[in-house]
Amino acid sequence: MLWDALPDALLLARIQFAFTVTFHFLFPAFTIGLASYLAVLEGLWLWTGRAAYLDLFRYWLKVFAVNFAMGVVSGIVLSYQFGTNWSVFADRTGPVLGPLMGYEVLTAFFLEAGFLGVMLFGLGRVGKGLHFAATSLVAIGTLISGFWILSANSWMQTPAGFTIGPDGRFLPADWWEIVFNPSFPFRYLHTITGAYLTTAMIVGAVGAFHILRDRANERARIMFSMAMWMAATVAPAQAVFGDMQGLWALHYQPQKVAAMEGHWETQRGAPLILFGLPDMEREETRMRVEIPYLGSLILRHSLDGEIRGLKDFPPDQRPTNVPLVFWSFRIMVGIGCLMIALGAVSLWLRFRGRLYDTPWFQRWAVAMAPSGLVAVTFGWITTEAGRQPFTVYGLMRTAESVSPIAAPAVAASLAAFVVVYFCVFGAGMWYLFRLLGKPPLPHEEGPRDDQPIRTAGITPAPSAQRPPARHPEPAE
């Protein structure tokens, strides 16, 4: 019975992993950027002494706390899912990938979790310098965490520095080559930059929203301005990193690039297909809108460069869902272009001195709020769906990676994940919207402990006792 049901169990396990990892990554994509932004805000406050920066720090710290908690709990799921649903993969790749994850926990998770408490509850309990150190350590922790997980994921895309044992296990041969595998540096850069842009879009949208309601709100103007600088400088840089990553992928994973581009035939002077309907049955992309020669120019940096098409590869080596890869890629690139445009317009308006007084621009910025999250998600779908049908590219198939778990068990757990994630994280998002709907004000209440906070209908939340000698502020 178990083995009869296995094809279904495989698909269910794939859906479950796709669902939990996609949901999870929404949180770190925002957290990575927000942690760095908080460190910058607190640093600016310490440097300039300007209270507005502290108010903004407190405003975003509350958002950070909710978001971080959701990221932690959805992340713990993943660290166990390799074993529960992909046990054969875990057994065979454990010797290579396990230590990378081990280092992620040791160098990043403990650091973040340990100092998060100080960051959230330590204002007024430790000195300013030490609190800033805690904030910075949390921010650094998020970057280190990204380092290891991107290294592990990149190794699955471009495996290097290993041998294969007689029992089929991947055995480490050179750790340097494993950690800094060929695709890792660009993919890391691309991911972190994507996270920064995600945060910039959200911060910019919140700033714009409150400017639309009250043009004089200084704090809203500061956050809007900072976010627009980010968009103007980092969005174009991201296009360059993306291009570099495309060139890398063409070298190591030509099938994936062919699927992204919608090319079935190998050709010189290939066009750039803007839109079309990739048809896996007929092995062609129908209803193409294309620009001649541009495909070769972008990928080969020459007008008659050769680009291999999908038909060049045996069907069992091609991505299993070409339209998904094709469309996800276009959504990501399209949003990237909108971000670049937003940044460029912001520079022009800033130059004209009308950055805060152009309602249509503020409305555009508000509409861009989820754009980073959407782009990051579809970027990941492009790269992960494009890696199919393999887990370790070219070496281990997804179908041979799965656990021997009966389909009903996987189906039940998948249903439970869907229900719980939508309820819990839906509620979390709702609270985030409520927090962000309030304008940033002078003397922003943060998670601080020097005064009780009373909101209508809610009893005040108490805090830990402070050692009186070091903290002369008046008690309650």
Partner: protein, 342 residues
């Protein structure tokens, strides 16, 4: 160092990580387990605030256990996780509810919402603890392995013994939580925690005795370990120490002169009980990592993988323990009513 030595060191390190998890998340899950008895909103806020700054770090030891097993004993990870599929997944879901409630209950805008998040926190704590207890019981009873893969069914984890360990863990974590509150709070809440700790303490000792009595009959290896002649001399101090620590804990719970050291003593005794139970388990299990099939050396990753991570662990674990200790020290002392956090 030989591969065997490194694997042995890692077995101790992973066991330590799991034990630290049990202690640290044990008391904060325990606070959730006590929620049905902590009725007042203010008392609940104080209870949550005793653990709010540290729960996230506590739970990281669970991730360390999972990732560590994946890294250095991948075969154990690849067989235990599918075998315990249901309890593990349910535990993860329960931890989601519980983890987000820390923030959500302070963001709630009506009493109804607040109550709902209190329930999520408490029920999540119960469910996570029950699942951990079920997983523990099923794990000790043995996991069927064939050709490097789990060979049992997906309900194998549900047995009378695993239900017993699940109940025992709920009571045990409840005791840790109650003793933690005795240490970190004052006034009525502390008195109430004392009463709960006394009752849970009695139950914990009974359940430890019951589980210990059944353990030797689960696997022949366990029986030999405990009843073979020279071994019994080494194993004998464990039950004796359990009795001593239990006695010391009850004594400390009766002494209410408010001396700060005295308030912390029941918690230390409860941790001691957990340590002894855990040691007893270790004595039974050694050197199996997936009983009864696989030893730690069968399941070990190649030497290169173990060594690569061991170098980092040797440097990083002391640093982690140092700053974790610092954070606990920073948030030392009693937590009071009426001071605002959020």
């Amino acid at each position: 160092m030989s591969a065997e030595t490194i694997a042995t060191i890692w077995a101790f390190l992973i066991a330590t990580a799991v034990f630290l998890y049990v202690c640290m998340d044990g008391f904060d899950l325990g606070v959730g387990i006590l929620f049905p008895w902590i009725r007042g909103q203010e008392d609940r806020d104080v209870s949550v605030n005793t653990i709010a700054p540290v729960w996230d770090g506590n739970e990281t030891w669970l991730v360390m256990g999972g990732a560590g097993l994946f890294a250095v004993f991948p075969l154990a990870y690849a067989t235990i996780m599918p075998a315990l599929y249901m309890p593990i997944i349910l535990m993860l879901l329960a931890l989601i509810f519980r983890g987000v409630s820390f923030e959500m209950r302070f963001r709630a805008e009506t009493e109804g919402q607040r109550l709902a998040w209190d329930r999520a926190f408490s029920w999540g704590s119960y469910a996570a603890t029950l699942c951990q207890g079920l997983a523990l019981g099923a794990f000790v009873q043995g996991i069927e392995v064939e050709e490097r893969a789990y060979a049992g069914g997906w309900w194998d984890w549900l047995t009378p013994f695993s239900c017993l360990t699940a109940a025992a863990l709920v009571v045990g974590y409840g005791l840790l939580g109650a003793c933690w509150l005795v240490w970190k709070t004052e006034g009525e809440l502390q008195d109430q925690a004392r009463g709960l700790a006394r009752r849970l303490g009695v139950l914990t000792l009974l359940l430890i005795a019951l589980v210990s009595a059944i353990m030797p009959f689960l696997q022949p290896e366990f029986r030999e370990r405990w009843f073979a002649f020279p071994a019994i001399l080494a194993a004998l101090p464990v039950p004796v120490l359990v009795v001593f620590l239990g006695w010391r804990m009850f004594k400390a719970l009766r002494e209410t002169d408010g001396h700060p050291w005295r308030d912390g003593l029941p918690f230390l005794c409860a941790l001691g009980l957990f340590f002894l139970a855990y040691t007893g388990l270790g004595i039974s299990m050694w050197p199996m990592i997936v009983p009864p099939e696989l030893t730690i050396w069968d399941a070990a990753a190649p030497r290169d993988s173990q060594l690569f991570l061991l170098v980092g662990a040797a440097v990083l674990i002391p640093i982690i323990l140092a700053y974790t200790g610092y954070v606990y020290w920073l948030f030392r002392g009693k937590v009071k009513h009426g001071e605002g956090y959020h």
